[in-house]
Assembly symmetry: C2
Homo-oligomer: 338 residues x 2
Amino acid sequence: MRIAVDAMGGDFGPGITIQGAVQASREFGLEILLVGVADIVKKEFDRVRPSGSKVTIIDAPEFVGMGEGLFSIRRRGRSSIRVGAQLVKERQAEALVSMGNTAAVVYISRKVLGALQGVNKPALSLLVPTLRGLTLLLDVGANANCVPEDLEQFAVMGKIFMTQVMGCRNPTIGLMSIGEEETKGNDLTKKAFERLQASSLNFIGNLEGKDLYSGKADIIVSDGFTGNVALKVTEGVVETFFHIARREIMKDFFAKIGLLLMKKHLKRVYKKIDYSEYGGAQLLGLNGVCIIGHGRSNPNAVKNAVRLARDFVANRVQERIQEEIAKTALAGGGSGAE
Amino acid sequence: MRIAVDAMGGDFGPGITIQGAVQASREFGLEILLVGVADIVKKEFDRVRPSGSKVTIIDAPEFVGMGEGLFSIRRRGRSSIRVGAQLVKERQAEALVSMGNTAAVVYISRKVLGALQGVNKPALSLLVPTLRGLTLLLDVGANANCVPEDLEQFAVMGKIFMTQVMGCRNPTIGLMSIGEEETKGNDLTKKAFERLQASSLNFIGNLEGKDLYSGKADIIVSDGFTGNVALKVTEGVVETFFHIARREIMKDFFAKIGLLLMKKHLKRVYKKIDYSEYGGAQLLGLNGVCIIGHGRSNPNAVKNAVRLARDFVANRVQERIQEEIAKTALAGGGSGAE
């Protein structure tokens, strides 16, 4: 199996990404296409001095910075992300893995690869750690405007991912809303509720924001606007909490000792709740495999993202999504009038 | 000034609410109408044995439970919340304070009191603690479906509250979205962005979920669906974090000692981030004053909610909202075609 890795993405520069990609090649016996500015990539690659890895460098003269907006993303016609997506399109690689600018990867991969037949909108999905394990949240930002049918398709796509890649049997599906009663929600979720209820999916009803981390459902579907806000609020809460806590604790000697004694354990907690540990976000319903790792990925997280891409390809996730979406459409869940 | 307090609301029963209301009467020299099942209220009131408070008990034979849904709320025609709202409508009280079921208070007070002239949708607003102070988030759940004009009105109403009650000069206003660029967001926020940009408000642009607790803006406007999800996600993150942290820490002797040393400080942090400390949520744009305290309110928090109601009345918040909304409509921000 051959996987293209965007060597230029990630907050820590090409070195870290290349290390992880090389490790993945060695451990999983994969062929890796390292896509990026050839000089830079070659230099970093030589520094790793890998043995037993199958790596080819593919030149892409441009790259998209982590903070760049859509305007400049559009202008970079030969960025590492675009060249990587092109490799997937031309079947020279079976998947693209990038730790780069999420908005750029979503925009470019949709543009280059397009959606699977029958899929209205490829969705960005993310595994979040919960009290009971992992829950898949989708969409987390690829589609700010959705219609009820989109949310049903997200549920179908999430189901395929959870069963095929995560080994979850008959995953439960919840709908992100503002109250558990059927009558709660906005126009979008109320109509989506009806569709999900009528489907053959294992739908357990409305969930609230606080259920995102409770593990009540294996999959939570949401429009991309709400899903993105939910995720970003999480980041904000964690950051703010640690900031205020540190400020309070540093005022007192005993509290500082206390922190010292707990440090190792708090790190372990942080690791548990840090989603960069779980391989990355997946674009479901795309006509090709594309995994977006977290910008903060260390080599190990990069390796996990590559492994996830491998599992995606090996389990034919996108093909199965296409089959299932076609079945759903036949069963009457298709593009009926909204 | 006379303020009606729903004696039956709150997770801890009438006793706690009555204690807080009596304290408020004594400290602020307010007349309190304690609304609830007379026998129960009288018994709890006698237990407090207040001196120097001006309290009258008003009988309301029914009450709404904390977990009850809209169906049963509608059936309780003589609940303490409804009787309290009626007192405000008939000008026998200048404000209603309830620690009860938020959905019930929002539903009943809107039904009984209605909106101010010119206000499309009264909004539920809440002060959240941030790194720099307090930020007002609205709407947090009263209006699941909004049009762009609603968000502009929320901004105007929030501004009046922050200037008149919180003493914040020329408050900054942010729009909850999924990226800071103007082009980011959904159809609703993109149109709301244009309206806010064109208004005379101190609009600072789009914010992301992570900015909710950063203190970047004094006011953040959002449709009620997104605002509610944002708030509930926060609850979920905090609960899950503490749960996982406790589980990890209890495994190790030294970590337990560490926790013990930090306990006092962590409690202080928790107090800082616990919004029940800040008096409660406010319904802005209602034809009458209504404050909703947190269900978990202790007597002190109840007292703070009553004080907030007093400040609301004393600073003529609702009247000023009506004036400002009328001005906005004249300035061309009115109910134009969407």
